[in-house]
Symmetry: C2
Subunit: 191 residues, 2 copies
């Protein structure tokens, strides 16, 4: 259905390798045979989760996002380390960012945040049965506040324009459909 749109890679060069950002510059052959430059940011992928307590409240984090020069209320998330599955990343990030573990996990959806210039994908999970395990121990150079919010508070914040972070926005819209019974919950498995 989209074969006639396909662009083939002719060659690829790593043109920037920084502290954590990697940029590649490729030449691509378009269906009409013409060659065009294509630059893109290599991303290892990420995992995020909706951590839901037994009383229905959601465990959120607030942190500074340097590129945007502001703080965001977000669902916990983090980049996938080499060798990890996205579920392992989600469990690790929940513990590192909030000090909590969850008794059961379910995949919710995968999103592609920056298809115009990056290969980033984010796997979003739902985590239920939260247990406090440790004081939150953020990574070096990362300050994180932990906050609890009800689904109603999150939907109000979303409608007021206060959840522009896409993974959080999408997770909250799905969560509202789940708790309202409009859409079925995904299948959970023990941690």
């Amino acid at each position: 259905m989209s074969d006639h749109l396909e662009e083939q890679t002719v060659d690829s060069e790593l043109v920037y390798q920084g502290l954590f950002l990697k940029v590649r510059k490729d030449r691509a052959r378009l269906p009409d045979g013409s060659l065009h430059g294509r630059e893109w940011v290599m991303h290892p992928g990420a995992a995020a989760m909706l951590p839901i307590a037994d009383d229905g409240r959601v465990l959120m984090v607030r942190q500074w996002r340097y590129a945007m020069h502001r703080a965001y209320l977000e669902i916990p998330a983090g980049k996938i380390d080499p060798g990890e599955t996205s579920l392992q990343t989600a469990k690790r990030e929940l513990l590192e960012e909030t000090g909590h573990a969850a008794r059961e996990w379910a995949p919710l959806l995968q999103i592609h945040p920056a298809i115009g210039f990056s290969n980033e994908v984010i796997d979003i999970f739902v985590a239920r049965g939260l247990e406090r395990r440790a004081d939150a121990a953020p990574d070096h150079g990362e300050l994180i506040d932990v906050e609890w919010a009800t689904v109603g508070e999150l939907v109000d914040a979303l409608r007021a324009g206060r959840l522009p972070d896409v993974k959080t926005h999408i997770a909250v819209m799905h969560l509202q459909r789940l708790v309202d019974g409009d859409w079925p919950w995904p299948a959970f498995a023990p941690a």
Copy 2:
């Protein structure tokens, strides 16, 4: 509420300038006084829109996204040119990508797709009263298919995991709330 998280820019350097990607590497001072490197992709911002015909169908585009090595069904969108407002960008992109103009426009919401490594923001609009003006004339080096879809078809595609592009995913979830009467439509103004 988030002052204790704020990171101050100490200095900033343009470390990569490519065909269209620009990467900056800054030093930031954290609230505890420590210095950390912060890399980010400079983005001019973008505009996207839900173009809705009088019969309720939505005008979509399908295009190849090189960084993801696949094609996506998306709402029309494009980067803001220097001196443009995001509404002007939206009108220009609707015409360039689909050959249509709209009689009235309303702002829907703004999203921040890549807060971990870019300052990109996307303003999403709703456009009603579509009129065909010209054959779609895609930019050089961009092949675009134009497709019509009902809201029901789009929600089905979303729930089946076939709309992972975040701007499209978010726009369709909002559109369903609007057409179901759950949330009020934004205020439209003539084009």
